[in-house]
């Protein structure tokens, strides 16, 4: 039973770790750059680089009002302008991705955008710029330095804006930290000579954003049929890739645990039965049929595996709530640049499956010993009585 309990406890703890990784990673991705959903015009994602200003959306306040009224309460709703251009400072020029953001709105929700040095864009004046900390290193920028943003406007002319670097940020997403900067949305409109923004980002107060998806799609389509809604997982493809990678590892780990557990269970069970061989010999001698012995042993193995699995689940939970209650800090996953803290989450949804799987495997491990014990030579078994 110890073998079964240990295997189940290991699976529960490992699954809780994976759930923790998934939950933390999900939260980080949402709150670093994506929000729950993003609204754009059809074709924007595909053609943005060719026609960066052909997909502007206006009327953010009106759309927000409809969504809040008809879909659910929002935590934030912000316009985002994306543009490409040079940042120049200290005789250095570096190409980067600029974001015109509504800093006060985004700050409330995108909490993973951490101020590394200086202050947040929301605390700066109109002509402020908030730079990815690695990009700032490349430009040797410090808070208070002057920077010039040089961009191509909607009309195709060049335009420049002198800005003051108010701080650097760290999102944990390598791509953002190395090559992006934020300015106020209203300044981006002026700089690029555009109105509105190609992206409206939003986040619901409730973290279970999927329940709003259907309604949100309908409301947005009703508002303007040229608009589309993308869930954060559609935008952050690396999330599914990374989690797929982790889950494949979990699958292999589970198989290894199950194989080791099965071999251990068969061995331990067989040893236990060998000790009771005299008992089975007596039972056979006085008239117990082979199949009755096999069935009895099989049910014993099912009972032991059920009890062992329940004890294992309890032990796993105790380990999660006791030894691992503070979680652990993990190195950065692919495409992220900061370590992240994983809290172990009890895998409630997986527990019935784990229980069934373990009972099945451990119970199945009793089949061979049951078959062998039912076919013992009675005389030989009787000789094992002490």
């Amino acid at each position: 039973m110890l073998a079964i309990s240990s295997a189940v406890a290991a699976m529960v703890v490992f699954q809780s770790f994976v759930n923790g990784v998934k939950s933390t990673f999900r939260h980080n991705v949402i709150t670093s750059n994506y929000g729950h959903y993003q609204i754009t015009r059809h074709g924007f994602r595909k053609n943005e680089s060719d026609e960066p200003f052909a997909y502007q959306i206006t009327g953010a306040a009106k759309l927000r009002e409809r969504i809040e009224k008809e879909v659910g309460p929002l935590s934030f709703f912000a316009q985002r302008q994306i543009f490409y251009g040079l940042l120049n400072s200290n005789d250095r020029s570096v190409g980067g991705v600029g974001f015109g953001i509504e800093a006060d709105e985004e700050r409330r929700f995108l909490t993973l955008v951490q101020v590394e040095e200086g202050k947040h864009l929301a605390e700066g004046g109109d002509l402020s710029v908030f730079v990815g900390y690695k990009l700032a290193q490349r430009l040797r920028l410090k808070p208070g330095d002057n920077v010039t943003a040089l961009v191509t406007t909607k009309t195709g002319s060049m335009n420049a804006l002198d800005l003051e670097m108010v701080g650097t940020f760290k999102t944990g997403i390598t791509q953002l930290d190395e090559g992006s900067y934020f300015i106020h949305h209203r300044m981006a409109e002026q700089l690029l000579k555009v109105e509105g923004a190609p992206i409206f980002m939003l986040g619901f107060k409730d973290d279970d954003e999927l329940k709003y998806q259907k309604k949100l799609n309908k409301v947005v389509a009703d508002y303007d049929s040229t608009l589309e809604v993308a869930h954060w997982r559609q935008l952050a493809e690396f999330f599914d890739n990374t989690m797929g990678w982790v889950e494949n590892q979990v699958f292999v780990f589970r198989i290894i645990i199950l194989i080791i557990a099965t071999i251990s269970i068969v061995t331990v069970f067989m040893m236990g039965l060998m000790e009771r061989m005299g008992e089975f010999g007596t039972m056979r001698a006085i008239g117990t049929h082979r199949q009755s012995i096999a069935i009895m042993i099989f049910f014993e193995s099912i009972l032991q595996s059920t009890l062992g699995s329940l004890i294992g689940i309890g032990t796993g939970m105790l380990i999660i709530k006791g030894l691992l209650s503070k979680g652990i800090t993990m190195p950065p996953p692919p495409l992220m640049s900061v370590p992240f803290h994983v809290t172990f989450l009890i895998p409630w949804a997986n527990i019935p499956v784990t229980l069934a799987l373990c009972v099945l495997v451990a119970g199945g491990a009793g089949v061979l010993p049951a078959w062998r014990m039912a076919r013992i030579r009675i005389v030989e078994a009787l000789g094992r009585n002490v």
Binding site: A285, I286, G287, T288, R290, V379, L382
Partner: protein, 226 residues
Amino acid sequence: MSEIYQLANVSKTYMVGKVPVDALNGLTLSIRKGEFAALQGPSGSGKSTLLNVVGLIEKPTGGTIRFRDQDVTNASEGLLTDLRQECIGFIFQSFNLIPVLSALENVEYALYLEQKFSRQEVHARAMKAIQSVGLERFAKHRPAELSGGQRQRVAIARALVKEPQIIIADEPTANLDSKTAAQILDLMKRLKDELHTTIFVATHDKAIADMAERIIKIKDGKIDEE
């Protein structure tokens, strides 16, 4: 008296490694219903093998065995199990009780196998058998909590509770002191007198041999003398 067993030219060969060893060697024997037969012979003479063959827990390698006028030489394992369950009671030298069951449960188990009685009736009959061997005070004790003599009495109760046609006993008093051995002998005599059970017992015990109606001597796997 009619015959309950007829063994004709029975042989049993074991392989010890690659060497065949003849435990029974063309043995012919009849056991009559209701008789008390004692089997004697030196160590290695084939006593235990003969008991196993008669008890239908070993099949012979040659010859024929008839039990209650039925040829059981090549009977299926299922039929042999049924016959052991319904007709044969065993008393082993080392008691062979099921350690996780109490004295009463050990006796009840033999009756449960037959599936002839209700739970209450099984309990009542087992209790009566336990009382008949004087162990009512120890009915709920497990084998490990009983003395050797008490364990053997439980084994006798288990054998007699189903009122078998034959009781096969292998050195039933070998592990007991003389006083307990005498009690066990009394019990066996009562079985024979009251239930007319056939008793076939392998023994070195002179007291048992003196009580037997027939003494069968075996040597080198054959009947040597009667």
